[in-house]
């Protein structure tokens, strides 16, 4: 009898613990399949140049995805990331133009982003609004602030010193710094999320906030700091974009939040909180990026691209829903 339960346990364990990794494996298969199909369809697809471009394009957004995933796990959401990316970029750019050295200017840009996160965290935890509404308001307000700072015109930053521009444009042994930074950020947070005690509290809070409180966890603190973290990472992405483009446009990043939330959700983060992995979210991002790149190479009109991406999101979420229903 006991042996029977034990044996049964072994099988079930695979079911539960590997549900997440099953999804990740599934995503990898889909991405590989797409890549192989595309390599037949377009000679340009399987070139280092194209791959580099794809990696570059999702590396910086990937940093934002990391923060968003953790925020989704705690049960929140942040619609303001696109605006915050832009604001960080615009503030740093303006400070640089005002005579500050670009490194200090960037740190201030990131700091200001963290403050925006703290303000949102305040409204969520102290005033008691939800993340959706708070960040929706922040999205609009911060976008307005971008326009105010720049008076609506793009800042041209071609005078940025080469050492700074290298962050966005240079490479180390033919690997762009952008990609290196991305890999480091992902590796650190993926590890922390799986292993660090502090991040375990994120899962408790997202899974059942009341039970977390009844376990002595200060859930408001957890939610506050995760909100700050998400905005801070968006700020970091903003200054890297600035180094990459050598310009700061006040309309940059509009609509970015949707792409980012989509990536995290395709990668398995639940909008109800309590589950999600960074690796999965990055795979979600990669999938969207491969699709975009394919659509461009196949010369499909931009009008179709959003539609197709939306359908992929819908498919991913439906599959997830189905899997979860089966599980219970």
């Amino acid at each position: 009898m006991h042996a029977e339960i034990k044996a049964a346990g072994a099988v079930r364990r695979i079911n539960f613990a590997q549900l997440a990794s099953m999804r990740e494996a599934g995503l990898i298969v889909i991405i590989l399949a797409l890549c192989i199909a595309m390599s037949f369809a377009s000679p340009h697809f399987l070139t280092w140049g194209n791959f580099r471009a794809m990696l570059m394009s999702f590396s910086i957004e990937g940093i934002v995805v990391v923060g968003m995933t953790i925020l989704l796990i705690v049960g929140g959401i942040d619609l303001s990331v696109g605006s915050v990316v832009c604001f960080s970029m615009v503030v740093s750019g303006a400070l640089f133009l005002a005579g500050l050295d670009p490194w200090t200017a960037s740190l201030i840009g990131i700091g200001v982003s963290a403050l925006i996160g703290a303000a949102m965290g305040f409204f969520v935890t102290v005033i008691g609004l939800n993340h959706f509404i708070t960040s929706l308001a922040a999205m609009v307000i911060v976008r307005g602030m971008c326009l105010v700072v720049t008076k609506g015109t793009p800042l041209s930053l071609f005078t940025l010193p080469p050492a700074f521009k290298a962050i966005g444009q240079g490479s180390f042994n033919n690997i762009p710094y952008v990609i290196l930074i991305f890999v480091v950020v992902v590796a650190i947070f993926d590890f922390l999320l799986r292993r660090a005690t502090a991040f375990r509290k994120v899962f408790y809070t997202g899974s059942n906030e009341k039970a977390a409180q009844f376990s002595g966890i200060r859930t408001n603190q957890v939610k506050f700091w995760v909100t700050v973290l998400c905005s801070t990472l968006a700020g970091l992405a903003g200054v890297i974009y600035m180094a990459r483009f050598g310009a700061a446009t006040p309309t940059f990043g509009a609509g970015m939040e949707l792409n980012i939330i989509a990536a995290a959700v395709i990668g398995g983060a639940s909008l109800n909180g309590g589950s999600g992995t960074i690796f999965g979210a990055i795979l979600g991002m990669a999938l969207l990026s491969v699709v975009t790149s394919s659509l461009i190479l196949l010369d499909i009109s931009v009008y179709w691209q959003d539609m197709i991406k939306g359908c992929i999101l819908l498919a991913a979420v439906s599959i997830d829903h189905f899997l979860h229903r089966k599980k219970s």
Binding site: G9, R12, F16, A196, A212, Q213, G274
Partner: protein, 511 residues
Amino acid sequence: MTQAPILEIRGLSKAFGAVKALSDVQFELRRGEIHALCGENGAGKSTLMNMIAGVLQPDEGDILIDGERVSIHSPAAAQRLGIALVHQEIALCQDATVAENIYMAAINSRRAPLMNFQKLYADAQKVMDLLAPIPVRTRVADLSISNQQLVEIAKALTLDCKVLMLDEPTAALTESEAQRLFSIVRGLRDRGISVIYISHRMAEIFSLCDRVTVFRDGRYVATDPIAAVSPDDVVRKMVGREITQLYPDKLAPQEPGRLLLSVEGLCDGRRFADVDLQLRAGEILGIGGLIGAGRSEIAQTVCGLRPMTAGTVALDGKQLRLRGYGDAVKAGLVYLSEDRKGSGVFLDLPIAANISALDLSRLTGPLGLLDRKAEDRQARELTGRLGVRMAGTDAAVSTLSGGNQQKVAIARQLSVDPKVIIMDEPTRGIDVGAKVEIHRLLRQLAGSGVGVVVISSELPELIGLCDRVLVVREGRIAGELTAGELGEEAIIMLASGVQDSSTQRQAHNVA
């Protein structure tokens, strides 16, 4: 007895992944009987109910209604067949009012586009009043767990059903509400409705039911008329062994040691006032009282889970200044919530993570990293001690039976080696055998110098387990009963404020 039974189960099996919840079980429900279903935690009782109610689908076997095979593919289909289920776990819409919840099913099947809310409220109140005077315009989220349980029952009463299934309906109720429920159920039986009744309380089963069926390890064991068996027989069939001593020995008089927990003049400005409480090492202190008397609120305030407006709490001689529950846990004062699903467990998270949640610091290395091996070891040790029936420590808690979820919640409190442990309905939903083990464990803890406070609505538990019982009435300590004075009558009298015991009994019978 030529008439076919109203409900019959034949050769039914159900597996979740590789866990066999039910194998080849049978069951027969006659018209107009109250049929008890007994079994240990994880025996498969709720799984069977869920299949009859269309929530789950059997892998094999037949369900027959009035002698005809039916397939019940959804809860709506079950409702059409006249089957109603009161779930073990509360499944109400927290943001809707009591009335809306009670008539959820009816609202759902209505064709008319507009609701007559006045009528809805009036009708709902009528049903609700049968059980307890809960105002039906209240939001469910604002009700205590026991009141939510009553709403859940009221909801089933409005359905025009032939078969009513009650899955541990009294687990969250006190004696008097339970008595009201029983008279309602008897009334239903007299109108020809058949009832399946699941409970771990033998006394209830023997006073209410006509026949009893026992399951063990997902298998059918036996069905007997209640008159032909004794509680001990049923327990033996359930557990597979004899249980000789239901409650561990109490403390010898005059034995309690030093003062562990001392609460003086505690008020929260709302639910209770002027609460004094003393707990000495070695003793188990019980807290009794009616639902809504404020027992849980007092305990939660002592632990820093709710704000206090006046009073002091001292642990082991040191005055506590709690900024939150986290501080209480650090000081060694822990609280087990009565609301298992709402604030007790993390349903989607693994068992191991559930157990470690209370104090992660003891599993954290110098770099702030969690020692997953130690976490797993701790989970295996505690679940082993409490006899949790599970697939593995990394299975989600949602895959456990109700009683086993409760054991996981208890395991979490034990994981931190507390100085004082306050347990709110600790054995809610736990089977007879496991209950004996848990009581023995609590006695052991007390013996080793841990202060144990048990809040319970189950009078036999208060009387059998505790050395001393405080009774709370309307937010105040109504009195204290020492081991010698303990008795159901005495507790009920203090709890209800009725002095004369005959009036008290009358109150019960009227209900």
